[in-house]
Amino acid sequence: MTAIPDDERCYDVVIVGAGFAGGILAKELVSEGHSVLILEAGEDHGKTWETYRSYLDQYYLSLAKTPNSPYPNLPTLPSPSVLDITAVRGTEPDTNGYFVQRGPLPFGSNYLMAYGGTSLHWLGTSLRMMPADFEMQSRFGLGVDWPFKYDDLKKDYERAEWEIGVSADAVEQTPKALGIKTSGPKDSNDYFAKDYDYPMHSIPSSYVDEFFARADGMAIEVGEDASDTVHLKVSRTPQGRNSTPRSPKNGQGIPVGDEVRKQFQPRGATGPFAYMGQRCEGNSSCIPICPIQAKYNAMKTLEDANHIGKSLMETITQAIASKVELDENGRVSGITYKKYPFPGVPQYELRRARGKHYVLAGGAVENVTLALASGICKSSDELGRNLMDHPYMMTWGAAPEPVGPFRGPGSTSSYANFRDGGFRDKTAAFRLEIGNWGWNFAAGSPNSDVARLVEQENLYGSALRDKLYHDVQRQVRLGTLVEQLPRSTNRITIDPAYRTPMGEYRPVISYDLDDYSRAGLAAAYEACVRIFQRLGIKNHTAYSPSDAGYFTYEGKGYTFFGAGHLVGTHRIGTHKSNSVTNDQMRSWDHDNLWLVGAGSMPTIATSNPTLTLSAMVYRAARAITAAVREGGAK
């Protein structure tokens, strides 16, 4: 075997992956004066304005406007796609797409391999977790407790909210204000630090939200206990998209982390006017691409890191980290990566990056395949296990009047009432997201409506136009995001039989929904039906046994999809026997290796994971800084 050439420069920290986690970490580390190298497998995509705009064109021209549709799918670097999801039948795994699916249910989520990572097509929902979510074992005897509590993450939540640029009003976002009957009596106290507030005001509610708010106050029973009954409330969702910046009260500034910050400056990422970030102007395409970059993407933070870091900051794109190498003491000595010069041509040069510390920030799945391929982080046997997502179930119907769908961000509000409560000992908690884009995700509207009316209802001319207005204006949709518990059998493995054209391991996934989550989904469906009844919405929901994500619970059938929330595969914990890293995301087995991202989260609860993973990155960043300063000794 020929020797792999070492990169000339040795960095303080080598980071794999330029997504949320990699970006924030890089910015923090260069701000502390450390040198940083990012290895990013994807093309540098939207980095320039021209390429960013060409992705937009690609989106316009895509027949199926899936999350990954604007972005190139390279044979060198296959990404999972929602179009590849089929039912797993029999004993043979489904190898249709990039994932090798062992089932019994298909894992329906995807992510994006590109400079900026999945942030390019995330929706932007930026919820904090609930205090109970950190204590699932002590409160309900389920799953595990986190090695720290909500309060310990509070300042880092603040930092993450200001980095991402989250639009919300703190007074509306306490568990109490959201109408949640928390499982702990004091959970709502001090949920936000005194005087803290989000950097920008709430994104205005949609007209659809206001329509649903007519059911506010309605009592819905969850679980068996009458005291668990909640009273519905539509609440606005904190979102990582630009709104109107908040002017600090009396010019005092807002306390964020340990600093006092001035008024937030919205920003874009690329383009000649990126420094003047635009507000969300309602392009209604946040998934898969925000044309004006009002929605946060990690390129904003990466741009800051480049700006702050100057020569401290280096990024190599089209560089797939392939193996983490160890020295005789079990410390990481280098990461070999495949640098491919031409996107789409599976030819590469093998090189080695060197640093004092190494961080895997490639997302919950890719961190695991890389670590498994390198034979590291073995002692707990937890690596790759406890894969969680938010099984996503849609319920859709026709409102009795026009509600103005297909305008604005994908979702601006939800029923957050079911995010915690005494019922959680038997039934999974969930959140009901109110969709603003009609039956787009549910049934391919409005194109499918045109086809139906023209081909089947034989309409044309103004009658067609009027019927389209009539039907589509009434389309409403709720999306259920339900929690999953960590289960060791929901896991990612690798198998030499399944590799990419570049010779990398493809993720082999085993996945199922347990009865806890199924009970949550069933309860959510029931709640949706009641809301529909209350508001006079005609239910059009159709689940079919031929759907890839079809499952049954207590004799009834439902269909779920993935939410793109990949969590739990390299969880933090209190001991090397129960977790892959410590609570600072430092690997138990390898002193100078860190794993960050949503894979670090021991439980998923009901919040979309990105704000939490971002907050956790600040925690890791402080520890890494300290470790670099100590010279790496423990």
Partner: protein, 162 residues
């Protein structure tokens, strides 16, 4: 064809399109896609069929459009599928290929494939106007526009289409 005939045929194409879509010729031209679609239809349809398709144009736009469309276009084995694909083209910017049976009977074209004609075609699909919205990813309506009352249906006062 001479240039003059071209203009006449193009105008006929607009007239037939207007009757089929419910949008007048100016509104169709306002999409900026008319020439593109005309070109596409010429590529897909054999000349004699195109001629037949446009021949009712002089009678359209008067009183008995509905009769003409319901009698001569929609149930016609040859013109019906063409009309349905053309309506969908105007509404979604996407060409829906003609049925297999049609191709066997009237001739296949290599341009008769499923395709969004252009990025403009996507953005200018009439469906967005019809449903009172804007094309997803383009023609933004402005901060907070999503909280406003839904636009009224056309012809029912306060026409807020965009």
């Amino acid at each position: 064809m001479t240039t003059h005939d071209d203009t006449i045929a193009y105008d006929a194409f607009l007239t037939v399109s207007a009757a089929l879509t419910g949008y007048n010729a100016a509104e169709l031209q306002a999409t900026g896609c008319a020439a593109e679609y005309w070109h596409h239809v010429q590529q897909v349809l054999p000349e004699d069929i195109l001629k037949k398709f446009l021949s009712p144009a002089p009678r359209l736009g008067k009183k008995d459009d509905d009769k003409i469309i319901r009698e001569s276009y929609l149930p016609d084995r040859c013109l019906g599928p063409v009309a349905r694909s053309l309506i969908q083209l105007w509404y979604t910017g996407q060409w829906v290929p003609l049925p297999q049976e049609w191709r066997e009977n009237y001739g296949a074209s290599r341009f008769d494939v499923v395709k969004i004609i252009s990025t403009r075609a996507y953005k200018e699909g009439l469906v967005w106007d019809a449903i009172g919205a804007h094309p997803q990813g383009a023609k933004q309506q402005g901060f907070g526009a999503w909280s406003l009352e839904p636009p009224k249906q056309r012809g029912q006062a306060d026409d807020r289409n965009s």
